[in-house]
């Protein structure tokens, strides 16, 4: 009986969590008249709203922009954060702990606080309305460094020393030994960064004016709130679906890495 109640509570929580998303998906497929209905099913499902979005705004271009920006940022965060994480975890140098503290400190600073100085900097560099403006400020992250550092600390130093004796340089040790042994950490950092960048609205709003340079969330926000959708809920939802689908696909694809632990059997524990 206790189990049944628990399961009912969990079921309720799960449904209340997923329902808004399913409703959005459903509304995007319904004709205008039915869009506001709370019912998830309809006999008149249509792709009309999606076609309308394509006609009204250059969503394809925005999708490309978002993919380039989120992809480049993610790759760069994984590369640079793991470099720093490796140094902080495995290399011995004066001031290592202080440096780590500074990295942690940067995570305490609210992002909004740095927006204005960053904006000024980007304007001075002439990077307004450009990919570098969207990518460069976010190429490394404190969170990424922290996750990589913590993961690398747990990799036995003997593996590093063995690789060093075999002739590997530090970069080779990182890419050939530490990366393959840290797949879950890489995927975690990758997904968090990709989602964060993909969903970012505020920063592109600040530095992008040209419609051709806009990212998906920026364009959809402008579209939905800015009046181009003409108050049509179905079209607004369809536009939002474009934003969500790539993330859902990415999550489904990489989910197994979240579960997969590091098979570290080369070292006897």
């Amino acid at each position: 009986m206790k189990k049944l109640i628990l399961h009912l509570i969990l079921l309720f929580a799960a449904v209340s969590f997923i329902y808004p998303f399913l409703w959005m998906a459903s509304a995007s497929l319904k004709p205008v008249a039915e869009a506001t209905s709370m019912n998830l099913l309809s006999s008149n499902f249509t792709f009309h709203n999606y076609i309308a979005v394509f006609k009204k705004i250059p969503i394809g271009r925005a999708l490309l922009n978002s993919t380039i920006v989120a992809g480049a940022t993610t790759a760069s965060v994984i590369f640079f954060s793991s470099l720093v994480g490796y140094a902080l975890a495995k290399l011995k140098f004066t001031g290592r702990e202080t440096l780590f503290m500074i990295v942690l400190f940067t995570m305490m600073i609210p992002g909004q606080l740095t927006l204005i100085p960053l904006y000024t900097l980007i304007v001075k560099l002439g990077w307004v309305d450009s990919y570098p403006g969207l990518i460069v400020p976010w190429m490394i992250s404190g969170m990424g460094i922290l996750i990589f550092r913590q993961t690398f600390v747990s990799i036995p130093g003997d593996l590093m020393e063995a690789a060093r004796i075999e002739g590997a340089g530090e970069l080779q040790i990182l890419t050939k030994i530490f990366w393959p042994l840290s797949k879950p950490a890489m995927v975690t950092v990758g997904i968090i960064t990709f989602m964060g960048t993909w969903n970012e609205v505020l920063w592109p709003m600040m530095i992008i004016r040209e419609q051709t340079m806009m990212t998906m969330p920026q364009m959809i926000t402008m579209f939905a709130v800015g009046g181009q959708a003409g108050g049509d809920l179905g079209i607004q939802m369809a536009a939002s679906m474009f934003l969500v689908i790539p993330l859902v696909i990415a999550y489904v694809f990489f989910q197994k890495y979240f579960i997969e632990g590091i098979a570290s059997s080369g070292i006897k524990g």
Binding site: D158, E161, A162, E166, G167, S265, G266, K268
Partner: protein, 378 residues
């Protein structure tokens, strides 16, 4: 084959009062199997890692094959190393593990294939080249680690306690295999262990280390039979050498070693003691040099029979280790276990005088001569 020479090598960690390695000189011959042995924390692994280049040298110089390697990175020292926990790369299979160093050095693929297969053949691991380390037993992993070391054909192999994670049977087997491998490859090996049995059986020469200082360096038999100090005497040999503190006294031109109330006749193979009658000496004798009175060898000068009580008799099948107590002395004696004996029995034992060791107040061995025995025979 390459020689390894260490000159005035020092390792000092900034936060330590004492140096881990103190002004160490050592010359290892080309093709030699050299073992560093000592208790935990004696500096043996530190020294090996310094030779490997994994730890910086504070001062001094190191040479491999005449080339100064003191400040070279590990990859340029022409060494390879087998670690205690194997340090195999868990995400690579056996083939990739063995060939790792060669592919990093961009060796030709055909050459890699040939060398890996040769090594696998030699070590008997050909059947699982495509398995990952987690699917191998401890002994197999150790073979893979050895394979990775030999495939690059370095000038010197370094082994850092490679057998300590294996069970007793596998350890004995791998010990034999490594010794055979050395005979085949004839490459210089530096092998670190805390296990004196490994050191004694495998080494051409061994270095006994304690507190970062070489206590003695020599062939295992030499170190066993003529330990230079009390530390070496007790560290090498199992059970360890029996030690008794006492005084040397002179009576009727004859020297005696006095321990509590027991006086043993001291041999004259320590001539410099004659003029140096004093206290604070330590007498040492190995358990196998204490004989049953009735079985004492005819050609051996022995002490008078001592009546002992057996406090504990530990049988190992063919041998028995007797923990004896007599006249305030406690010592161990090893005998062939071909007679009935049990705890609580009383027996008569004699000390082989020629096999006694005398250490001075600093624990340093007094040089022995065979004078007494020779005179006795003539």
């Amino acid at each position: 084959m390459a020689s390894v020479i260490l000159e005035n090598v020092v390792k000092h960690y900034p936060n330590n009062d004492k140096s881990t390695i103190k002004d160490l000189d050592l010359s290892i011959n080309a093709g030699e199997f050299m073992v560093f042995v000592g208790p935990s924390g004696c500096g043996k692994s530190t020294l090996l890692r310094m030779i490997a280049g994994l730890i910086n040298t504070t001062s001094g110089k190191m040479f491999i094959d005449g080339k100064d390697i003191t400040n070279l990175p590990p990859k340029d020292r022409s060494i390879s190393m087998v670690f205690q926990n194997y340090a195999l790369f868990p995400h690579l299979d056996v083939y990739e593990n063995i060939s790792f160093g060669l592919s990093i050095r961009k060796t030709d693929k055909k050459e890699i294939d040939k060398r890996v297969n040769d090594a696998a053949e030699l070590l008997g691991i050909k059947d699982f080249l495509r398995k990952t380390p987690k699917n191998l037993s401890g002994g197999q992993r150790q073979r893979v680690a050895v394979g990775r070391a030999i495939v690059r054909r370095p000038k010197v192999f370094l082994f850092d306690e490679p057998l300590s994670n294996l069970d007793a049977k596998m350890r004995t087997q791998m010990r034999v295999e490594i010794s055979k491998l050395h005979k085949k490859l004839k490459t210089t090996i530096i092998y670190v262990t805390h296990d004196q049995c490994e050191a004694m059986t495998m080494a051409d020469r061994m270095v006994v280390l304690h507190n970062g200082i070489i206590q003695q360096c020599g062939a295992p038999s030499e170190i066993y039979s003529s330990p230079k100090n009390v530390f070496v005497a007790t560290f090498i040999g199992s059970p360890p050498m029996n030690l008794f503190k006492g005084d040397i006294i002179k009576k009727d031109d004859q020297l005696f070693f006095k321990i509590n109330n027991t006086a043993l006749t001291l041999p004259l193979k320590f001539p410099d003691i004659l003029s140096d009658e004093s206290s604070d000496y330590t007498l040492g004798i190995r358990p196998e040099h204490i004989y049953l009175a009735e079985r004492k060898p005819n050609d051996m000068l022995c002490s008078e029979a001592i009546d002992c009580e057996i406090e504990l008799a530990e049988s190992m099948g063919n041998d028995v280790s007797l923990h004896c107590k007599a006249q305030g002395l406690e010592f161990q004696s090893n005998q062939r276990h071909d007679f009935p004996i049990k705890t609580g029995d009383r027996i008569k034992l004699v000390f082989a005088i020629d096999k006694l060791h005398i250490f001075d107040e600093n624990g340093v061995a007094r040089p022995a001569t065979r004078e007494r025995s020779d005179r006795r025979k003539s």
